[in-house]
Structure formats: C-alpha cells, structure tokens
Symmetry: C2
Subunit: 454 residues, 2 copies
Amino acid sequence: MTAEQTRHRRNLKTVNRALASGTFSEVRQVLNNLPGAEAAHLIESSPPREREILWQLLNQEQETEVLQYLGEEVRVELLRDLPTEELVELIEDLDTDDLADLLQELPEQVTSRVLAGLDAQNRERLEQVMNYPEDTAGGLMNTDVITVRPEITFSVVQRYLRRLGDIPKTTDNLLVVNRKNQFVGVLPLTRVLISDPGTSVREAMITDVEAIPATQDAHEVAKLFERLDLVTAPVVDDNGMLVGRITIDDVVDVIMEEAEHSLMGMAGLDEDEDTFGSVWHTVRRRALWLGINLLTALAASAVISLFEDTLEKVVALAVLMPIVASMGGIAGSQTLTLVIRAMALGQVQAGNTRYLLTKELAVGALNGLLWALVIGATAALWFDDPSLGVIIGCAMILNLVVAAGAGALIPMVMKRMGIDPALAGSVVLTTVTDIVGFMAFLGLATLLYANLVV
Amino acid sequence: MTAEQTRHRRNLKTVNRALASGTFSEVRQVLNNLPGAEAAHLIESSPPREREILWQLLNQEQETEVLQYLGEEVRVELLRDLPTEELVELIEDLDTDDLADLLQELPEQVTSRVLAGLDAQNRERLEQVMNYPEDTAGGLMNTDVITVRPEITFSVVQRYLRRLGDIPKTTDNLLVVNRKNQFVGVLPLTRVLISDPGTSVREAMITDVEAIPATQDAHEVAKLFERLDLVTAPVVDDNGMLVGRITIDDVVDVIMEEAEHSLMGMAGLDEDEDTFGSVWHTVRRRALWLGINLLTALAASAVISLFEDTLEKVVALAVLMPIVASMGGIAGSQTLTLVIRAMALGQVQAGNTRYLLTKELAVGALNGLLWALVIGATAALWFDDPSLGVIIGCAMILNLVVAAGAGALIPMVMKRMGIDPALAGSVVLTTVTDIVGFMAFLGLATLLYANLVV
C-alpha cells in the first residue's frame, strides 16, 4: 500500500468514527487541514447523508478548494440547494472551463443570477466559453492566456511578465497575436529565458503550430495532445482569432472520462454513475438496461419455443443449448471490444475494413473449429449420442463465425447511424449470438432427429 | 469529420492504392514527408505485410521519428530482425524511458549489444531506468533533469541555462538538490523569469513538493498527477537522491494503457492486442479465454442436467430458463463494473464496504422485484400457467440479489488474493449467475411441480 492510500484510509476511518459518535469538531479539523484534492476524495468516498454533513463542516476557503476536485454529479448535488449569493462567492474563483461546465448543470435561474453576480471581465470570459458545447475545444478551454506581439523584444517581454507578476499555472508558451488578435505563433518561455534580451518575438517564435478550432471535438483534441505530447495548445475561432488555450490537465480529464464511458457503457452504466449514490436513484438508472435485456432474452426464448417438440423428445438439447449461445457471446464480444477500441483510436478506415473483417471471420472459424471438436466429443460421450456431438459442433462453428462478423460490423454500422457502439453494441451483439446460437443448435437437431425418426 | 481524420483517410487511401499497384516511389514520398506521429498511425492501421513494406520505405531520419510513436507490439515486431548496428543507430535518440521499455522486450543478446554500443553517459542513464520495473515511477522516469543548488542566484541560473542552450521538452521546473544530490525543492521556470535577478534559489524555491519514490506504482503516480494537475514531478531513490523526473506525456500513456487494460480485460483481451495482427497469432491469444468459458458453460449444463426429469415433463422450463440466467449476468456485471472502477479510483475502503454492499443488494432486490413482476406475468400468460409465473418471478429476485452480492464481493476478494478483477471478474461472475439462475429456476420448478403431481 502506498503512503497516500494509507493516509486516505486512516482519514476515512477517523471521519467515520467521529461522525458515528457525533464529535464533529474532530472531523472539521481533519477536513479543513487536508489538501483540497484529498478532502474531495474523502467526500466522494462517503454515502450521501455523510457527504452533506462533511460539506457543512468545511470552512469557506476549503469549500472553494474542494469544489475543484469533486466529480460533476457530487458537485451539483451539494451545490443545488445553496443560496445564490453564497454560490457566487464560492465558485467565482474556479477556472473558467470548470465554471462553465458547472453552470450548465445548475437550474437556469441559478445560472443567470450567478452570471449577474460576476464582474464584467469574468462574465465576458465565461460567456465566451459557454458559447461552445462542453465536449468541444471551446468548452474545454481556459481564457487565462498571456499574449504578446511579434514586434517586441525579449527584454520587453520579460518586463511585461514581471509587471504581471502572476503567470497562470501550466503556462509553457506565450501566445503571439497580431493587431487583430489573430493567432500567429507560440513563444516557449524557455526561449525567453535562454535567448539574448535583444531578440524579437518574431525571430524566436514557432509558427508551424496548428491552433485548435474552438468547434473541434474534445476527443480529437485529446488525440492531438497525446500524439504530439502537448502541454498546452491555443484555441481560435472561425476567423483565426485567439479565444483561449487548452491545458493538459483538462485533456487528462477528457481521456479519463472517455475511458470510463467505454468501460461503464459496456455494462449500460453512465460514466458519471455515483458509486455511493442513493439506492432509489441507482435502481431507476439501471432498471432501463435490465428491461432492454429482458426483451432480448424473451426474443431468444421465442426462438427456443419454436422447437418445443424437439426439446420434449431430446431433453439433452435443453442441457447443452446454453453452451452454444454463451460461446458465441464471448467470441463476439472479443471482436466487438477490439473494433470499438480501434475505431476510437482512428485506426479503422475504408482502406482496411475488409482486411479486418476477413481476419476476424477467419479467427472465428478457426476457434470455432477447435472448440467444436472439444464440445462435440464431450457431448457425444456425455449423452452417448454421436449425432448430438455433430449437431453441437456444427452449431458452434456457425455461431462463432456469425459472432465474429456481428462483432466487427455492429460497431461500424452503429457509428454510421450515429449510435454509440460502446453503449448499445453489446446488447445487439448478444441478441444476435443468442438467437443464432439457439436457432442453429435446435434447428440442426430438429432436421437431423426428424430424419432419424422417419 | 475533422481535418486530421480526412488527412489520415486520404493518406491511407493513397498508400493502399500505390502499394497495390507497386508504385513505391509515391508511397515513399508521402511517408517521409508526414509528421512522425501520422506516419506511425498509418503503419499501425495497416496489415502486417504492408507494415513491413512501409517500414522499409522510410528514410533513416523518419525511422527514428516514427519509432517514438509506434505501439509497443508493432515496434518490437519491426525491430526484431534488424542488425544490431542499425538498431543502435536508430534507437539511441529515443527518450531514456522509451528506450528502456523497448530493450526489455527485445532478446537479451540484442539488449547487451545495444548497451555496449551506447556511449558511457547514455548507458549509465539507461541502466538506472532499467533497474526499476516498467510499471513503477523509476521505469517511467526520464533522466534529462536540470538541477541547481539552493545557494546560487537567479542571474547565475539564467547564465547557466543560456550556456546549456537546450532545455529538454516539457520542463516547467528546475530541480533543486543539495551537495549530496538529495532533492530539496523545485524552482518553477516562471519564477526565474519574473523575479529579480538577485533572488537566490533558496528564497524562491517551493519545498512542500513531495518527490515520488522510484519504486512507487505507476498507477499511483498517475493518480497523483491527475489529482494535483502536475506537469512534471521529481523522482527520488530510497536515500532521497534525485534520480530523474516524470513528465505528463508518459503519465497520459499510463492512463490510456490502464483504461485499455480494463476495457480489453473484460473481454479477455490483452491491452496490447494488435487489431491488424495476423490470424494465427490472434487465434492462439483468444482460444484460451474461449476454453475457460467453455468449462464454465459446461458447469452450467451440469446443473441443468440435474433436472432432466422435470424438463422432460415441463418443456416450457427449457424455453424460459435462459432468461433468469441472462438477467443475473447483466445485473451482476453492472455492479462488478462499478466496483472495479471505484476500486481503481481508490474509493472503496474498509469504512464504506458495508454501505456499498448493502446498497447494491438493495438495488438488486428492488430491480429483481420489478422485473420479477413483469416476467412472472408474461410467463403466466404465455404458457397459461400461473405457477410458472410464480416460479420464474421468485428465481429472478433470488438471482438478481445473488448477482449484486457476487458483483460487489468478487472484485474485492480477488484483489485481496492478488488476482486482477478486470481480467477474471466477469468469468467468475457469469459462472455464479448462470449456476444460481438455472438452479433456482429449475429447482423451484421441481419442488412445486412435484407437489402438484403428488
């Protein structure tokens, strides 16, 4: 266990014990002396009722600090009932992009009152960020840029920076703009440090940097940061005007959210799902997904019911039939997961789709053959019936090939239809593999046993 | 579609067409004029045989560039057969941490020859990084630190930096060490820029920065970076000696790898799984997972076979039995996914395990009740048999509660046993939900129908 984990566990214990015994003063002391990130972590790891109490125990300075590190859902939950005045005081020090995200989740009358409560400069900046959807470069950006003109010298730059006094966190570059505020290049701070004070910005700036359009998708922004190892990047509007900058910490959040979205989506969960949220809230969120699954399971049952006569005669079929469906589901979800990841990485293109599909079908066929032999032999020996072995073997190969094809095609088709494959892909896939699995196995059995009997 | 995607697609098309028609000169021109990251992306999006050809067409300068951006598996595949001399020339410009990772994957005699081919300073740095496992802070770190002593003034610092000339990429802080090379604090470059040249390092440095122990787990490092919005962090050995620094771009790689590990692991895939790898390679990798699943499916079949007599009498049971098992699997995997994520975020601790378990059991019971009513009514009407509705309803509630408990407890128990729940959790879970599902449904039916008949 790391030092950090040990500390977190100890804090959680102290807080739990103190809350249970009602000695709030101890909790207040612990909470307000923790770094903001750790106090936020502690609040998120507590059940809803305790969260409220812990939040009440924070002093105002710590509240602002903690707020920055709380997850979206928890943040909204804690802030919803605050009086507007208190809310404004609390949140006006947040980064512009965080503030914009937060306001978009609060009720509209609260948002407008908060906007009215801000000073002119902050309001203008905030409105600029709020102009863009949350999942675009414009929604991610901050407006705390330091700009310089190309014609000035480094000694002027350095004097200007000294006068400013406060350089925003994570500033690696100054941004160079022309008289119209159009972005022309970046000037790394390290160049200012190591170059002759007489150098002009124009001589030293880097111009082959692509500014990010404010409307660009957050996912693309993250890929760009990852591929070019960026720390910050300038953001421009349609006219090339500099409107802000994106910093790596916000990109890391995007990457983590996307990863959670894929992972949680596969289980029909929202990436914001609150682990310690209330039971009622959770039941409602998950019921829908279970309901959809019930419908698909009923569809599979309908397929089975077509073969009631055969099942009545050969009860071994009922014993073995879940195997074919289950193997198809597993093989298909391997392909599905792989293709969804490859699509997210931008690797799947018109030029290689055919290769990918062929490869997956071949893999499905070969693995189908392998496990068909194993299950065929097992079934034949178990029920002392060679034809049963042949039937389940053939059904297995067929279902694994179909599973591979479905696993590869479903996400591609869904993407073209504008449906998120990470969310809906696995339901559609298992519906296909269940139906094909039962149909192939029971259908083949019906054909074969009918012939044997006649 | 973004400009970048359009460009990638166009390039891929050009390359595919040219490769097909054998006009390599055109491909060579396209490849060597692309930014390294894009050329690497293009190579990774191609089938194995084309990859070899594309790699051959790169000129040496571009090869070095591209190498940095290739995924691990593809990189090793392309480098394995190179003569050592060429290899050394190619890789000596890589970052120390990338080089260390790469060497650990190549055959040992290649590694030692490469080490022998490096100059003394590079070899020493490399060996230092290779001392630590790849997934620790030491394995992630680079050795390109700029250190200063506390007693010097900013004008000396600035003169020193000018003499160095080249400040490594992503340098936001200078690292302050004492005479024994022990880490004492960081000095942000921005402070050097804006402060009076007479200021001493000691006055301006930040000392409440925790250095990361070289043995710390990469996952913990990533959490620290994310929580504190770091760009770089110093790494120290057991004696507090500064041994290197970690930069955010390597942390982003860790975060992405972990995310892929969770996602791919759920489907029994390795996070390095090569989307366009060869069929044979892929078949072998996936066969094991399917084999494990076949065993668990056979276990479920064994349970069903206990009730052959009942199934023979009431064939409707065979039609409905997959529903109970399937709903349990879905509900359980929702809980499993949630708990695995919460554990990865460090939210699950001794203090809140009981709350989490109780909450999930309650959610399982409520959703079980809801869908038991729906499926009970459906089954009773479908087969015109009210007792069948009661049986499937009770089995559903039971299986959903068991699924919630299993989904919450399996990852916790596995973690304690040192097994990765992201990899093995879902297999164990579905085995439990299948067996309990079939057992509950068919067992209840056997009891009830036996009583009715007698």
